[in-house]
Amino acid sequence: MTFRLSSDTMRLAIPALSLTLLLAAVFWLQPRAMSYVGLNLLFNLAVPIALATIAQMLVMAVNDLDLSMGTFVSFVACVTATFLRDAPVIGILILAGAIASYAAIGVVIHLRSLPSIVVTLGMSFVWGGLAVLLLPAPGGQSPDWVRWLMTVKPPLAPMAIVASVIIAVVAHLVVMRSSLGVLIRGVGGNQRSVERAGWSIVAARAAAYGLAGFFAVLAGVALVGLTTSADANIALRYTLLSIAGVILGGGEFIGGRVSPIGAVIGALTLTLAGSFLSFLRISPDWQIGAQGAILIIVLALRLMLNRLEKREKRR
């Protein structure tokens, strides 16, 4: 029997496998987690991380890297907890302006051929500063509809799972099925040939950054819905978490090889890793460290499977 998996399926299989293993381990350690409420608690905080990971993935699809993700999500959270509640029109205008400036950053990076790491590094100071101006001390309150959206209890599956699935499907449709998505990935794969085919690279990059800004805005809003208030430093670790999530989900730094479904799974895996360790009764001191260890193990697994695949091909 010749049953062959396409390389895209393989790419998705490893993250899915690691998530399943981790989830099985959690259930085995704590059977009570296997319930509606348990699952919701396990994955609650994964929703904003998944959205931020999708945003990072869009930037990585055009071979760039966004180091300002964490401060940007914090900034959005501050806007959501202040303006979006008290003056929704102004709040929406500010968020739209933020998305537009993301697109503008993409244009600047492309036109001056600047290293994206440095430009987004500079922007991370700007977003951080704006967030501090808005909320010098932790505070604010989440708008009621956001709070409702994040705590609603749909039938069958908890909100965290439903939201993750919706995010994965929407991102998949945009990035893998639409012509814009193909164009964005094409810029990452071979910029020159996309250009020769008559497409505007500037527009593609602006679109990728604008979409990334949009998903990052959603991440900030969702985060405030969960925490009910905001702080200028609320999401700083999202920069590194989102990069790790994309890589865990089978994405790569160059070549426009990304996988939206994988990215969501990667974000879920990172969130679950924390709960897994507390169930193992490992001291909270080692929580962050164990996330690093899980990252290493998954990457080692991926290398092994890739080697197996190559050996199969050689035969």
Binding site: R112, V126, D285, I288, L295
Partner: protein, 316 residues
């Protein structure tokens, strides 16, 4: 070309000019008062970014994708463990330094063995290691704040002939780094690898060994900086390294080192580090709040890279 023009062709001159302009603006506002104090403070605080930045510069020189994100965690771990070991005793200063260096070597070794063995991009490898190192630091620290030995605390906070001692240490390290980079075969090797790894391999350069040494060097410098910073600030804190992640990268880029690798310079790190500190103190002098200060810092980084990028494109 006249000597003046040749000076302006150097990539590091811009960061020095910028630092000087900012220094001048600050001094004029304070009407000459505190000029000496400002310069000393700038040298002291810049010294830490210089030490960390030089390590990061060596790594970035290795080419696109090479970056060390474990710098802040390494600083914190080295600071906490060394202070714990020394336990406020002056006799233990030397073992403390050695432990800090050993921590740097171990972290560097972990970084590069992951990059090599698992073939993962350096950014993810160093990120995973930094998670583990950070946890180790939390575990050893336990919220305790141990004071540094008195001799060491005095050394890091005082001056020799008006120059802060930490700045002198940074100067010695810079001279060593400059020598490594410009005068030894190792320096040529890392530049060659940064320009083209396949070509370097073809030319018979020991690519793996060179990269390993570079990652070790960066981690050791980070741990030395962490050791000094912990002594300077009167004890290690868990978040003491956090601002140096972005700072170490910013300093390298503003200093005129090519982000694509293969071209680096030590003097630029000095100019950029002084510049970064002076900007903050200038905005402080003008009485601006933390938010405005951060925004200005970000805008300045972006405008510097836009100017520098344009200049380079014009030259080639």
């Amino acid at each position: 070309m006249s000597p003046v023009l040749r000076l302006f062709g150097k990539p590091w001159i811009w960061s020095w000019l910028a630092a000087f302009v900012v220094w001048f603006l600050t001094v004029t506002v304070s009407l000459g008062g505190g000029t000496l104090g400002l310069s000393q403070a700038a040298l002291t605080f810049a010294a830490f970014s210089i030490i960390v930045g030089i390590g990061q510069m060596f790594v970035i020189t290795l080419g696109p994708g090479n970056i060390d994100l474990s710098v802040p965690a390494t600083m914190t771990l080295a600071g906490t463990v060394a202070l714990k070991l020394m336990n406020v005793e002056n006799g233990m200063i030397l073992p403390g330094v050695l432990v800090a260096i050993v921590i740097g070597l171990v972290v560097g070794l972990c970084n590069y063995s992951l990059i090599k063995a698992l073939r993962i991009p350096p950014i993810i490898a160093t990120l995973s290691v930094s998670f583990i190192v950070q946890s180790a630091a939390i575990w050893t620290n336990r919220g305790l704040r141990i004071k540094p030995p008195s001799l060491l605390a005095d050394f890091t906070t005082s001056n020799t002939f008006g120059i802060p001692n930490v700045a002198i240490v940074a100067l010695l390290i810079s001279i060593f780094a400059w020598f490594l980079l410009e005068k030894t075969i190792y320096g040529r090797w890392i530049s060659a690898i940064g320009q083209s790894m396949p070509a370097a391999r073809m030319a018979g350069i020991p690519v793996d060994g060179t990269r390993l040494v570079t990652y070790l060097f960066c981690a050791v410098l980070a741990s030395v900086a962490g050791y000094l910073l912990a002594c300077f600030s009167g004890g290690a804190a868990l978040n003491m390294g956090s601002e140096y992640l972005l700072m170490s990268i910013a300093v390298v880029v503003i200093g005129g080192t090519a982000v694509a690798g293969g071209d680096s310079n030590v003097p630029g790190i000095w100019g950029a580090s002084l510049f970064m500190f002076l900007v903050v103190s200038m905005l402080n002098t003008y009485g601006l709040g933390a938010g405005i200060r951060l925004i200005m810092t970000g805008l300045i980084i972006i405008s510097v890279i836009m100017l520098a990028g344009g200049r380079r494109a014009g030259m080639r």
